[in-house]
């Protein structure tokens, strides 16, 4: 299975993950500071800054886009409960 690597900058942990993994599945396990509320892409609690490798995440759904917009999220920010890792190297930190 294709692999990807994601770094959680705030705790200094890099994890090798299978493609298709969502950020939420990894961040909690490594104790990163990304926090979750609804876990369903509605509350924007899990807003995360994609420091690099933005293009290696699956494009946001219409709903995620709307939630990001309503919450005035800056560029290259995603909902960690939604964002799916496609491959490559990604670096993230809590917004």
């Amino acid at each position: 299975m294709p692999k990807a690597s994601v770094t959680f900058q705030d705790v200094g942990v890099t994890v090798t993950v299978p493609a298709g993994t969502r950020l939420i599945e990894v961040s909690e396990k490594v104790g990163a500071g990304i926090t979750y509320g609804c876990r369903e892409g509605e509350c924007c609690t899990c807003l995360t800054r994609i420091v690099s490798g933005h293009e290696h995440l699956a494009a946001p759904s219409v709903l995620e886009d709307q939630v990001l917009k309503n919450n005035l999220a800056p560029r290259h920010h995603r909902l960690a409960c939604q964002a799916q890792i496609l491959g490559g190297t990604i670096v993230v930190r809590p917004a």
């Binding site: 770094t7 705790v11 200094g12 994890v15 104790g31 990163a32 500071g33 917009k69 005035l72 809590p94």
Partner: protein, 426 residues
């Protein structure tokens, strides 16, 4: 003897040129949102602002007080004159009469914050007036002819949707729950009502304190305004020395402890026979071994048996890292740990470093349970906890020192990067 004039105003009350209070009094309320108590009831403040080309209604009231709101509104404006409705906050105590107001005032556009847009749909059926809703942010304005309203986006005071509205021609800030309190007094103005200081402080401590970073950001927007009156969503209208209240919020929301260059780590423990206590001392010693000379990490040990929760909560609010030590007794961490961990709703602890350790007899669930709870409270938990069976060995103490050391390194942003495979994670 003259009766004190707490008799309630029956009609609308002029609070400035072309501005009326049109809210409702709820003197009998004793408990609000389950978590708040009030000895003085509350008021749901709403306002009507008249300009040369229209009337704006700012906020409404709780649904069962709609009638007094509408009759006060009708005494100062006709429904067809209303061009704008502003909801500074969507909680039902302010939006309860909104659907009916939208029906009665067909020419009005509803202005809410961007963040309120999706929440609004969850609260009321917006299908009939979807076209009349406009979302606004800081700097957006709506004109009433000779005067205009300016919006300030001030989220999380205390919901994501909250905003403030500024009426420059009157120097008046409509602040929603911000600067509010549950204190019902028909004399309405801060210079006329009874002593409401404790209600003001209580409201801040329970509603605003968890969001103090957002409080500071909102104050950054509000402080430069030439304020003459603060008109909040509950309690007295602050027309005498409104800046006193702004300064009070600034003081209450300021970090109390240290300069940015030192970090604070608290080690809490409870110990039946001394094992967890000695582990706690090892954790503290490990943390102190990091950058101690420069005083970069200030470590303190606290026996949960000897303190009371409010003062621990004060300490936790200012700390950067929290380590909890608990023995496992009957398959659980001990109650004082849970009591403290369930008392943190009034402070912002998101993003702090958390860790756990403890001794046990045969099963040792406490450490993982505390770690789970810390994650649930939105702490970072990057250092795996330490469990010691019965009497801790030298190895256990070494692991505790390492736990403290790693926690301190994380606090200083100096932890060594780690590379893991997803499959190795529990």
């Amino acid at each position: 003897m003259a009766m004190p004039k707490i008799a309630r105003a029956e009609g609308a009350v002029a609070i400035g040129a072309g501005v009326h209070w049109i809210g409702a009094f709820d003197p009998d309320l004793r408990s609000f949102d389950i978590i708040l108590r009030t000895a003085n009831g509350t008021s749901y403040n709403a306002y009507a602002v008249r300009g040369s080309a229209g009337v704006a209604v700012i906020d409404t009231v709780k649904a069962n007080f709609a009638q007094s709101f509408f009759s006060r509104l009708e005494s100062v404006a006709g429904y067809d004159e209303i061009t704008a409705i502003v909801q500074n906050h969507l909680e039902p105590d302010h939006s309860g009469a909104l659907p009916e107001l939208l029906r009665r005032a067909p020419a009005a556009t509803l202005y809410v914050s961007h963040q309120a847009r999706t929440m609004l749909r969850g609260l009321i059926d917006t299908s009939a007036f979807e076209q009349r809703i406009v979302s606004v942010g800081t700097g957006d304005t709506v004109t009433l002819g000779d005067r205009e309203l300016l919006f300030l986006n001030t989220p999380y005071l205390h919901w994501p949707d909250t905003q403030c509205t500024w009426l420059a021609t009157a120097g008046m800030l409509f602040s929603g729950d911000f600067f509010g309190c549950h204190y019902c007094d028909g004399r309405l103005f801060n210079d006329a009502v009874g002593d409401f200081r404790s209600s003001f402080e209580y409201y801040y401590a329970n509603i605003m304190r968890p969001f103090r970073t957002h409080v500071r950001q909102a104050l950054d927007l509000i402080e430069p305004l030439p304020l003459q009156t603060i008109a909040p969503g509950h309690g007295p209208i602050l027309r005498q020395d409104p800046r006193d209240y702004v300064r009070r919020y600034r003081a209450l929301s300021a970090p109390a402890l240290h300069a940015a260059d030192s970090r604070t780590l608290l080690v809490f423990y409870l110990s039946a026979y001394g094992a967890t206590r000695r582990m706690a001392e090892a954790v503290a010693a490990g943390a102190e071994s990091v950058g101690a000379e420069a005083g970069e990490v200030r470590v303190s040990l606290h026996d949960l048996e000897g303190g009371d929760i409010p003062s621990f909560v004060d300490l936790i609010e200012e700390a950067d890292g929290l380590v909890f030590g608990s023995p496992t007794i009957n398959g659980d961490a001990v109650k004082p740990v849970w009591d403290l961990l369930s008392s943190l709703a009034t402070v912002d602890i998101r993003g702090k470093i958390g860790a756990a350790f403890g001794s046990y007899g045969w099963s040792g669930e406490a450490v993982a349970m505390i770690e789970d709870r810390l994650r649930g409270l939105k702490l970072r938990v990057p250092v795996p906890g330490v469990k010691a069976r019965l009497v801790p060995t030298d190895e256990d103490f070494a692991a505790c020192r390492e736990l403290g050391r790693q926690a301190a390194l994380h606090l200083l942003g100096r932890a060594l990067p780690r590379v893991l495979d997803m499959a190795s994670l529990a």
